[in-house]
Amino acid sequence: MRTIHAYLVRLLLLAPCLVPLSWLGMPPIAHPATPEEIGLKIATESRARDDGFGNFMAKQAMVLRNKQGQESRRQLRVKVLEVAGDGDKSLMVFDEPRDVKGTALLTHAHKQEADDQWLYLPALKRVKRISSSNKSGSFMGSEFSYEDLSPPEVEKFTYRYLRDEPCGDLTCTVSERFPVDKKASGYSRQVVWQDKDALRTWKVEYYDRKDAHLKTLTIGKYQQYLDKYWRAGEMNMVNHLTGKSTVLTWSDYQFRTKLKERDFSKTGLKRAR
């Protein structure tokens, strides 16, 4: 885990070579890079910029809208722990709807193999190990699926850079990513817009297994924490097939809290509330 100081020193040392680099602050590429190589570099760099956050907590509020405009609400709290050399550990605790209040989901994500997931059911005080292959399923009846909400591990996709194009006041790179495990994902591909300044994701288009444009996610209200880590404040997912949409609002971000490894164990899961 790098400190901010170490990061700043590195940045200063790199400063002279940052200037000629037209994009991304990446070292110059010796041979003409293929679109696949560029795509992978963007993904790797994007993930690397998030290194060292340690842990964070945040609140999520979802508003689910159907075609007729009827609304339904969800509220949950999220705790995430960075794990060196592996996927993050996360704990989600549901507050609303009230009938699932106290239900908690513990995920130990992995870079290569399948994630480990346990569900805590407060009415029975039961911890249940569940299958993590349900990536494409709806998350709490929303337009977000589990895979849409888990941070994309670089190793779980292959990439292809498409083009640069303006996005608002910024310039974005547009790349495609394809799931390595085709069975585990509900998508054949995703198209991702990331700005060249900070590699924040602003838009994702999801294409289903028949390559039909299924959903579009737009992300906004970014804020920077600890002078380094960008986090979205609002995510809007629209399903083009059903006309339903879900707005996910993030709030109360807290970084480098006293969260410990032990809070992400099965014993810790039983304490979640």
């Binding site: 106290g102 190990r129 399923g137 304490r271």
Partner: protein
């Protein structure tokens, strides 16, 4: 309220007071960092299409449940949880009951590379992986008044220590007080032929309900495999029912049985292997020390004819030692037919070494050589609509049970639960044959706050 009821109330209150005193003492100088009041109010009804065996049993009942939950947390993360429970039943005054489901202080901290956790007070604990029965699960008494499936439990006073490390999780339980199982009263159904005495409860131990029981469990995850090993030494949670004249026998109706609790030892093993969409499950127990009347009918009859008392009749019961197991699995088809719905299929085989001498574990099934087949359809819609079906069949006898459940959120805070428990057939040789008319339908209209 009965004498025993008053005593158990006293014991629960004492435990609660001790737990809250500890909590207050520990928290004396620390400010409350968070608190939360939530809970459930439920309007419920149950209907039995067939009349009971006993004319005093009613064919329908209505009532309500109140179960609030108060949670207090101080800045360091220690907390106190309080969950009282009350049920009102319109036809059975025994089923109108209250309980302290939870009232415990929780403290935890670092211990070397790992952590320690203490839960002190009344709590509920769940062990195991199977769905058709909870074989290894033994810490709590079941709340038999709530549902014959045994999923609902009474609060258990305990000291629960947990030590977690890279090497796994080790837990110790000190259980100072025994909660007897309460059976439905005269107007109630699902009590089968007789009533169970609430005033007279017999224990093998001279310390009666104050016999200190102990339990321990070691559990660990190895990649896709979750394993738990447990041991319990103390008062059985299952009553042995003893028929002693004049309250029981002859032309008396209904019979009033005396419940007797043996000192038992149980070793348990539970494991689940999670591979993609497969969950493979296994639970097994070895239990010794429990008394069983089945297979000793001749001797019991003789003792009854000789006019012997409780001890003499109980002396005829066999003190048994047996193994029982559940093995099975669950497979889920996600997003079937390109919809958002998931379909889960479950199958489990229940085995009990005692065979025909096995006592019912999940009414009306003995689960000695029984297959369970289940299906779960989750629509994953906004209202979390879910339908489950469960079929239990005895492989060697004509006993079959079919259950359906439907769950759905109605509005943000309201939800609906409807279930059907159909007894398709019961073999006349089964002890639970007397319960053959107790299939029922039930609904809950729940308000969650």
């Amino acid at each position: 309220m009965s004498r025993r009821g008053a005593r158990s109330l006293l014991a629960l209150t004492a435990t609660w007071l001790i737990a809250s005193c500890v909590a207050v003492d520990v928290h004396a100088e620390i400010e409350l960092a968070a608190w939360d009041l939530s809970g459930l109010v439920s309007l419920e009804g149950r209907a039995f299409p067939q009349t009971g065996i006993d004319a005093s049993q009613r064919s329908y009942t209505t009532g309500f449940v109140v179960e609030p939950k108060l949670y207090l947390e101080e800045a360091e993360g220690s907390s106190f949880t309080l969950v009282p429970f009350f049920r009102y039943d319109s036809v059975d005054s025994v089923r109108t009951h209250w309980d302290l489901r939870e009232a415990y202080a929780l403290l935890y901290g670092e211990l070397g590379e790992g952590e320690w956790e203490v839960r002190l007070g009344v709590d509920r604990v769940f062990w195991g992986v199977a769905e058709s029965q909870h074989l290894v699960d033994i810490i709590n008494q079941i709340d038999f008044l709530e549902h014959p499936n045994g999923e609902v439990k009474l609060g258990q006073p305990m000291v629960h220590l947990t030590w977690t490390g890279d090497w796994g999780v080790l837990e110790f339980f000190g259980l100072p007080y025994h909660r007897p199982r309460i059976y439905p009263g005269r107007g109630g159904r699902l009590r089968f032929a007789g009533l169970v005495d609430r005033e007279r409860v017999e224990y093998e131990s001279g310390a009666e309900e104050w016999h200190p029981d102990f339990a321990a469990r070691y559990s660990r995850s190895f990649g896709p495999l979750d394993v738990g090993m447990s041991v319990f030494d103390g008062t059985s949670r299952e009553a042995t029912l003893v028929c002693v004249p004049p309250a029981c026998g002859g032309s008396v109706f209904p019979y009033v049985f005396i419940p007797y609790y043996s000192q038992i030892r149980q070793f348990g093993l539970d494991a689940q292997l999670t591979l993609d969409s497969w969950l493979l499950k296994f639970e097994a127990i070895h239990r010794s020390g429990e008394r069983n009347p089945l297979g000793r009918e001749e001797g019991i009859r003789t003792a009854l004819i000789q006019g012997r008392g409780f001890e003499g009749i109980l002396g005829q019961y066999r003190e048994e030692e047996y193994v029982a197991a559940v093995v099975g699995g669950e497979y889920t088809f996600y997003s079937v037919f390109s919809s958002t719905s998931d379909v889960g299929l479950l199958a489990e085989w229940n085995y009990d070494e005692r065979g025909r001498r096995a006592l019912p574990r999940r009414q009306p099934m003995t689960l000695d050589n029984d297959f369970f087949i289940g299906a779960r359809l989750a629509f994953n819609d906004v209202d979390s609509t879910e339908i489950t079906a469960a079929f239990l069949t005895d492989a060697s006898r004509e006993t079959r049970n079919l259950g359906f459940e439907f769950d759905r959120r109605l509005f943000d805070q309201w939800s609906l639960h409807v279930e059907a428990n159909l007894i398709l057939s019961i073999d006349p040789l089964d002890v639970q044959y007397v319960g053959r008319r107790d299939g029922f339908y039930e609904f809950h209209l729940e308000y969650n706050f």
